[in-house]
Every structure is written in C-alpha cells, then in structure tokens.
C-alpha cells in the first residue's frame, strides 16, 4: 500500500495530494454525481470576496487550442452568504474544504479572511492575489513583491490556520514573488493562476471576451506551469502546490517530480468531471510501479543528471 498522506504543514493534512482548483469545481456539490469526495485531498471552493460580485458581462469564455480563456471576474455572493448558506451544506463533506479568498483592497482581504478564520471546518485558505479578471486589485497585489508582502502580512495577522498563497504567472520573476510570500508568513504557495491572454473573432472584428483580455487555462499552459513549479520549489522552503493544465495522473506526477507537494485539478474537470476522483489512485499506481512507498517521495524527485 502506497502512503498518499500529504502534510502541507500548519495542520493541513490531506489524504492524498489531489485538490480541485478554485473556480473550476464550484462548491463541490456540482460534481457529487461524478466524484467520491473521500477520494480527494480537498476541494478549493470558488473565489470568495467580502462583498457580493456580479462578475463580468457575457461573453466570459472563449475556447483556444487545448485550452480556454475565462473572464468570469469573481462572480460570487460574498462571504456572508457563503457562511450562512453554503458552508452548512459543505462543511461536513468527507474531505478538506478550503476557501479561495479574493479581494480588491487589503481591508477586503483581511475582513474576508477573518470571517473564514472563524469557520471550524475550514482548515486553510488559498489567498488569491493573482486573478487577472478584476479591474483594480487582485493581480495588482500579486505582480510585485511589495504588493504581495503587504497583503500576506496583513492577512497573516488575522488568519491563524494554514495560509496558502496563490501566485500569478503574469510576472517577471515568480520566484521573487514566492519568496516574498514566504517571508511574509505564507504556509504554502500554489501556482499557477491563469495566464493573461486574448482571443479575437476576425470575422466580426471583435474580441471574443467582453473584457477583451482574460485568463488562459487548460492543457496548453502545462509546460509553463511545470517550469514555474520547478523554479519556485528550488527557491522556497514552504510546500508548493502545483497546477496548470493537469489532465491525468501522469501530469500530476510530473508536477510532483518538479517539486510540488500537492496538485490541483482545474479546467480538466470540465472535460472529465470524474477525473479528480481518479488521480489519487493513479499517483499510487505510479508509486507502486516505480518503487516509491509514499507519494511524498515524489516531491522534487526529478533526475537531472
């Protein structure tokens, strides 16, 4: 039996390294017919902000080769609605439930994180400082070291459980950003969020998204994500959670070999809604085949000589 237990530190222990990525798995309930939640290390729910957000106008999605652009813009009913109506329904799912905390001002991040801190069944937050789809804020914090230090330090003061910080790939040096997050008190970093991209309908001479630009995700971003996970894991001591285009157990293993302690499945949930429930077993199969007794041994086990 391969041991899949994944300890990300500060009380966040997963039964296996598989998480579902924020914004691609709803609140988990949408996938209840396809996935046994006890096959997941955890679920990261939709981006949650202090106040309700309408999100961006339609069209918010455009398919691109082996991927998609989205410009959802953090549509959600706000953290108070989450606490009152959604949390009671999902608190007792047989897996870890993490909240993706988003915002556009430091005060909003702090207020939202403080509220989530009081929720007993939420062992961690993923701080989204990297969403490309909100006008001010979001990514503004995630694109330079001062911004990220400020927001992570402020949230750290009010959030006492596991604080995972989600990084934007739309930066010159993601390693510097990751180091700043670590120095400011992050317990782990997850990467990557979507890459800023654009699609045009030539026949209509118009952008395909209402916001003109949007976030690229899916299989096409995997090589970039893998490279960034590799670089960041060399640069920080805290655990790295890898994501970006993971579409199979083999993809997941590749991220772990590059240095990830856990992984998230995002856009691939749309193509195979049952995928996330199968990846844990796939990682175990790989371990068995190649002589690893625990999946944690995969982290950084890439041979480069």
């Amino acid at each position: 039996m391969v041991d899949l237990t994944t300890d990300l530190g500060k009380g966040l222990i997963l039964r296996n390294p598989v998480l579902t990525a924020s914004g691609t798995f709803g609140y988990g309930e949408e996938y209840a017919d396809f996935v046994d939640f006890n096959k997941l290390g955890g679920i990261i729910v939709k981006g949650t902000t202090l106040n309700p957000r309408e999100g961006n106008p339609y069209p918010r999605m455009a398919e691109t080769p082996s991927g998609m652009l989205n410009a959802v813009g953090l549509q959600n009913k706000g953290v108070h609605y989450f606490v009152e109506h959604i949390y009671p329904r999902i608190a007792n799912l047989d897996t870890n439930v993490l909240v993706n905390v988003s915002g556009s001002t430091i005060e909003d991040y702090v207020a939202c994180a403080e509220i989530v801190n009081s929720l007993e069944c939420i062992p961690a937050i993923e701080l989204n400082v990297s969403c490309p789809n909100v006008k001010q804020g979001g990514m503004a914090f995630g694109v330079n070291t001062e911004g990220i230090s400020k927001v992570v330090e402020a949230v750290r003061k009010v959030y006492h459980k596991h604080l995972m910080v989600k990084l934007s790939p739309n930066v010159t040096s993601i390693v510097d950003i990751a180091k700043a997050a670590e120095a400011s008190g992050a317990d782990s970093v997850s990467l990557i969020n979507t890459l800023l991209g654009m699609a045009i309908d030539a026949a209509k001479r118009r952008p395909k998204l209402s916001t003109i630009t949007g976030g690229l995700s899916g299989a096409c971003v995997k090589p970039i994500a893998l490279r960034m996970v590799w670089q960041v894991s060399k640069g920080v001591k805290i655990p790295v959670v890898g994501l970006g285009g993971i579409s199979s157990a083999t993809d997941a293993v590749e991220f772990m070999l590059a240095g990830a302690s856990a992984i998230e499945i995002g856009t691939a949930n749309f193509i195979d809604p049952s995928l996330s429930g199968k990846v844990g077993e796939g990682i175990a199969d790989y371990c068995e085949k190649y002589g690893f007794t625990a999946s944690s041994q995969l982290t950084g086990a890439l041979l480069t000589d």
């Binding site: 709803g26 939709k46 999100g55 999605m61 299989a219």
Partner: protein
C-alpha cells in the same frame, strides 16, 4: 447525471445537419424535454471542451438518445461525419426543462395546449418535448418550424407523429414564405389563453417570438444557447443577465420564462 460511453448505432445525414442515434450500456436516467448533453469530441486541440447538444429524442428501452447536429465549426462537423460504431463520451442529462403540465395540481393557470416553435437546428429539443406531451400528458402540441430553406426542415415526419406541423422558409421553398412569426396559424392561437409557447432557435427568432407572445399575453419560454465550458453550473462562464442577476444557462436554464430575461 451520468458520464458514459455511447456507441453510434445509426446516422442520417442531410446537407448541414445529421441525426445521430447513440446507445449506451447503462440504464439512462430520466431525461426531461429541453435538457441537453455535453459531448466529448476527441482527437483535436480545437475541440478541447465538450459541446452542448439538446436531446432530440430518447428511446429508454434501448438506452438510446438522438442528437440533431448542425455543422457550424470543427466540433459539430466531426460529429456530423462520425462513422457508425464510433464511441462518443457523453455527460447527461443537464439543465432544467420546459414547463410541463402538473398532473397533481388543478390550478387554473395550467397550460392546456402547447405551441412549440423551432428555428434551424433549434427544432432539436422539440421532438422529444412533443413525444412526452403526447405519451405522458395526452396533449397534441402544435409545431411551428422555420428554416432558411427546405433543406433546413428535417425530421418533419417524426414531428407529425406527435402533433400538427406548420412550416415557414425564408426563401419560400417549403411551407409559408417568411419568418415563423409571420405564419398565418398564429392568428387563431392568440385567443387561447391556456396556450404555452415554447421556443428554441436563433436569438433574433426567439426575441421575435417572445415579443409576439408577450403582446398576446401568452406564457412563453425560450431555450438559450450561451457558450459553455463545464455545463454543470460550476464555472459561471455561460451566464445570462436576468431579473435575478447573472444566472447559469447550463444549470438555471437553458429554458427561461421570457419574463426573467432582459430582452
């Protein structure tokens, strides 16, 4: 909801449209008229996401569904040309449904008759709707089906099994010439206050039908076709702005009462 491999057992091709009959090994869940499926189209980076397609008919005893697919791009072209025996991975059933009469309640506002208006490949969900109305509710709906020309009007024989069929074409090659909203049969229908109008087709057509139904004080539902990614209500990509804010066409729809919409 299930995710299952279906085998293409029969395909019938017209110029722009194909009818696919697909069977799976599993017992099908109950499928409601107006619901849709998400079809996986393999082997191409340009068809990365699944494609939403309406349920055209269900043969529960064979675990069989029918899809009516019109070629508009890579994905639908691939589907329309699949060889018999192909395996097609499908997630179903998705979305809400058209409003059916309630057999248990006796409220006055119950629809007693149905006018099902379809344009182009938007006729697809109406066949199964008509079948359910006739076989489960003993109601023979009126179908009003429109197309650009005769070649758009497919499956007419099948529709005739479940109701009276009227047609229009823009070029006059079949039925009355013009748009569905110009058809003479509509005149006699406005007086029937128990009439429920249900419409699926290109947006300008649905807007015209909605306008007509609104003016005639008839209850009217339309089925929207926003771009989708997940089809499960998880990604919030497919939203339509409504009186209740942004709603997901894939989960809160695809069927909406026209009073919910801002058109």
């Amino acid at each position: 909801m299930i995710i299952s491999d279906f085998t293409l057992v029969e395909i019938q091709k017209w110029t722009k449209v194909s009818l696919l009959k697909l069977q799976c090994e599993e017992r099908l869940p109950n499928i409601l008229p107006g619901q849709f499926v998400q079809v996986r189209i393999d082997q191409s980076p340009s068809t990365y996401l699944r494609r939403p397609i309406s349920v055209h008919n269900v043969i529960p005893e064979n675990n069989e569904i029918w899809l009516l697919v019109q070629k508009v791009g890579k994905g639908t072209e691939t589907l329309c040309e699949l060889p018999v025996g192909s395996i097609v991975n499908i997630v179903l059933p998705l979305g809400n449904s058209f409003t059916l009469p309630c057999l248990r309640c006796s409220c006055q506002a119950q629809p007693t008759d149905y006018l099902l208006v379809g344009g182009g490949v938007g006729i697809a969900p109406l066949l199964y709707f008509g079948k359910v109305l006739q076989t489960q509710y003993n109601i023979r709906p009126t179908f009003l089906l429109g197309g650009r020309s005769q070649s758009d009007l497919v499956q007419i024989d099948s529709f005739q099994m479940y109701g009276d069929v009227y047609t229009t074409t823009e070029d006059g090659s079949a039925g009355e010439k013009g748009f569905v909203t110009n058809h003479s049969v509509l005149e006699q229908m406005t007086a029937n206050k128990g009439l429920q109008v249900c419409c699926c087709g290109p947006k300008p057509m649905m807007m015209a039908v909605a306008k007509w139904a609104y003016a005639a004080h008839l209850n009217c539902e339309v089925s929207l076709e926003n771009m989708m990614a997940c089809g499960l209500g998880a990604c919030l990509c497919c939203v339509e702005k409504t009186t209740e804010g942004h709603l997901c066409v894939c989960k809160d729809g695809p069927v909406f009462n026209i009073n919910q919409l801002l058109w």
